[in-house]
Symmetry: C2
Subunit: 537 residues, 2 copies
């Protein structure tokens, strides 16, 4: 593994000029060495005495790492999470406590965690995330830095300010996460959409875009930053595999670009969907039966960091999907120069992530240990696999689903599932139905990662496609809502809001949070409403 | 109390144009009404199931509200906090617990607090801070809004983006909080310093500046935003009193400006310093003996909100000084139009404040109740009063302190304490010393609020004042650091870094965090070093 010398590949021109990152606050140049010197008496800071923090200790009862199964078994059915939710299956927990004052100097404690603190985060937690990045992502160079942050949304905000100047563009997938776009908007940073396929951003489309970039015609310089959610992309659910990642990274090297990897669904790699009728009772969800950490990691699509020999990747990790969104906690992994600037950006805004959250998450991860945390993640992965399967199974119950390789568009070459109304008299099987198949209502590719199914609605089959696809999508969305079901309207996920060539509508459907009976009910309502809407009763 | 109609005083032109605040994310226009409709099944969000949050409950042992005395008594000496710190005086605590699922719908719970949440914060905590703003600040209009945020530093960041355009200026005190300036810098918002006196920003200087503003000569439009820390200002310790606040507010009305009130030290209003020899043993620290909430509030300098009949004030409150800095939690109080924009700004960055912190702080404040919290704040106020007194007493021990009304400069008319070397043979008394007083080394006005003493160093007495005051300040700072004491270098607190007319240096000294013996020791080291430095052994 190479030690990255920033001067070897000079990335300093990537730091924004119009938005210079804030100067280092406390220690004036030349005075730093005195700060924190042992034995020195400091009257320099504005710190309250920890005696006035009204907490003697905080504690939590935390679930044990093997709370969720890693093998799909009869008795560990997809209902197990529901049982736990209802308390029918008593949770097994361990207590953890964070005292105000440490017993040993290295202990996490509230006197430190609830004090004004380093923007980089508690050292104990930094150590844990560094170990995780090291073992799980294996960056291609040695001196990468891990820095805690207050969640990926805020982290992306800081990255935008640190790397982009007003009027510049950021390369994004054609359908992408709207919050990330809204973050750029106040700084006048514009999304530049790139065509996608079943693996997310297309490298050939990206090469063409970068090669043929016409600054005058576009009204902005060639974008230097790529934003992507490479695993289980929001909203399309696509996952960028190794070969594609290498191609895109090579384009970064060629064109001097940076890759921002916003990867909240990394561990939720559920594997291929297998139709219910073809799933054996004892079949393990792909990879989830592996009980060894290294094998588990090897079963996951790798991070861009693994190929990042030039320090061009800023990876954003979050605890939102693995611990809880309300932790507002995550970490950057990137080169030390960018990390230093991101730390400065935090000093003048969020400062450190919340100390209550940092200390309870640290206590949890210390109690579990690395192996325990990996075990927890493996359990989570199977839970989302079971949910993904339950939702797609429910579609297969409600509709006539056919499977065929996509022949055009973003799903070319993928196994595309197309749903149409079931024949009225027959109720046997879904795939080899003898009756003629009625007009397709929607299509999708079951995601191999993440929380979302991206449903394409075939409005080209609709009597009034003369009106725009966006209007039809909105109309159908309202009818669904009136009937009691909310989907994510596809139009939210267009970075440019250009509908001129669209003949389809889309819905983003999240299978992450509903109880199974609600999922069934929502699919039944969807069936009734879409059949009526498409004139296909 | 008037109901503020935004159209009556149109403040909409104050919202920045170049930095438009982000559009509302989730509900597209016209679809909002369906979000959160009872009984609707939502597959629209990307929420993990709370079953996967690895916390069954979190809890804390919290100090009781009367943990610190409100009366200065012999047995409740300034050492009481030290005793508590060392555990000699056993803390009295109460347990609070936040369960994963609520028993009653209105209970705080982790399923909500640790989920993706409203940027405005937990409703239960919003209710508490609204009650506090209502009772303690009594805003002059009715429909003001309270909105939680992730600490005043981040809140100011969002205010800057929401109100200012690149290239504009913000009016600030001549010496001011450097972090607030560093927050503006990346957005190319420039500080415009206003002369100060013993009450902070001068209204006459502000009027002159606004009246005579020359856009062409200044290279920027007349500033529309005033930033101030009106109580115990950082670093000067000054407090703006009612009449001055009314004058400045009137200027806001006349010139169409906004007042951002960053007020972390509001409850730390310690009152006038009384020299030790003149303090009776039973003398109460000013106001701290009052045991009734309304009287306590009446004893405090009011917020700008109290005069804000036009909705021109954005007040920033923080729990950093009253609960703990690591809570990264506070709230805005402002007009509903600005509040809506600030909420949007949070949605694309910090989202909601950390759920662990929100829920534990809420549980604490619910357990204490409003009366309990006020009692806690009264106890805190006396603690800081005792610390302020201890530090000034220590200066009086180490130096010959004389008191006289200031005749010029920022302390004109204030009771200014001037320190010089003690006569070598005499050790009796400090104020009526018979021996001739040696050259003044430093001056200060004991603060009536906050955590800081702003020490002016008389470099005009120094043999090499030919070099700049800033260089001497740095040199003395390094000598102090080498001797084992860190002060805040005054130069950090200059928003413009213009030293041309300075003949003095400054140090900001925080008395908030040291144990008494450390305070004594640091003052003794300071005495030795400054006497040597000024050639006055």
């Amino acid at each position: 593994m190479a030690f990255l010398k920033p001067e070897a590949i000079d990335l300093s021109h990537h730091l924004s000029g119009t938005f210079p990152t804030a100067r280092h606050l406390s220690p004036l140049k030349g005075l730093q060495k005195y700060w924190g010197r042992p034995g020195i008496i400091s009257l320099a800071g504005g710190l309250p005495s920890p005696a006035y923090f009204p907490y003697s200790d905080i504690s939590a009862n935390i679930l044990v790492p093997n709370s969720f199964p890693v093998e799909r078994k009869q008795e560990e059915s997809s209902f197990s999470w529901l049982w736990k939710l209802l308390g029918a299956d008593k949770e097994k927990t361990t207590p953890v406590t964070v005292p105000k004052y440490p017993v040993r100097p290295e202990d996490i404690n509230l006197a430190t965690a609830l004090q004004y603190g380093m923007s980089a985060g508690l050292p104990q937690l930094q150590k844990i995330v560094k170990e995780f990045s090291d073992k799980v992502y294996s960056p291609a160079y040695e001196n990468y830095t891990c820095l805690l942050h207050a969640g990926n949304t805020d982290a992306w905000n800081k990255v935008v300010i640190t790397l982009c100047n007003p009027g510049e563009g950021v390369l994004v997938s054609k359908w992408t996460y709207p919050s990330a776009m809204a973050t750029m908007q106040p700084f006048n940073i514009k999304p530049v959409p790139v065509e996608i396929d079943g693996q997310g951003m297309r490298s050939d489309a990206l090469r063409t875009l970068l090669t043929e970039w016409d600054e005058a015609a576009r009204g902005m310089p060639r974008p230097r930053v790529i934003y992507a959610v490479p695993i289980g992309e929001n909203p399309t659910g696509t996952t960028t595999r190794v070969a594609r990642k290498k191609e895109i990274y090579q384009l970064c090297v060629e064109f001097g670009d940076l890759q921002v990897e916003d990867d909240p669904y990394f561990v939720l790699q559920e594997g291929e969907y297998v139709p219910k009728s073809m799933r054996g009772r004892q079949t393990q969800a792909s990879g989830t039966g592996i009980d060894d950490e290294a094998k588990f990691i090897a079963s996951l699509e790798p991070s861009y960091l693994k190929f990042d020999y030039q320090g061009r990747v800023i990876r954003l990790d979050t605890f939102s999907k693995t611990i809880a969104p309300g932790s507002r906690l995550g970490w950057y992994t990137c080169n030390p120069m960018f990390a230093e600037r991101l730390e400065r950006a935090a000093e003048t805004s969020t400062q450190a992530p919340c100390g209550f959250g940092q200390s309870l998450v640290t206590a949890t991860l210390q109690e579990w240990g690395y192996e325990g945390y990996i075990r927890w993640l493996k359990g989570l992965r199977l839970q989302y696999t079971l949910r993904r399967d339950y939702f797609v199974d429910a579609l297969a119950e409600e509709f006539q689903l056919t499977v065929a390789p996509g022949t055009a568009g973003m799903w070319e070459g993928c196994q595309v599932y197309t749903g149409s109304a079931k024949p009225k008299r027959s109720v046997t099987g879904y795939f080899n139905e003898k009756a003629p198949i009625s007009s397709p209502l929607f299509s999708f590719v079951p995601p191999t990662s993440g929380m979302f199914v991206w449903l394409k609605i075939h409005f080209d089959q609709h009597p009034s496609i003369a009106t725009t696809a966006k209007d039809l999508e909105m109309k159908l969305w309202i009818e669904l809502a009136e009937a009691g079901v909310l989907f994510g309207p596809g139009s939210m996920f267009s970075p440019t809001q250009d509908w001129s060539s669209e003949r389809s509508g889309h819905f983003r459907i999240s299978f992450s949070n509903l109880e199974n009976d609600e999922m069934t009910k929502s699919v039944q309502i969807f069936g009734k409403v879409i059949r009526e809407f498409m004139g296909n009763l």
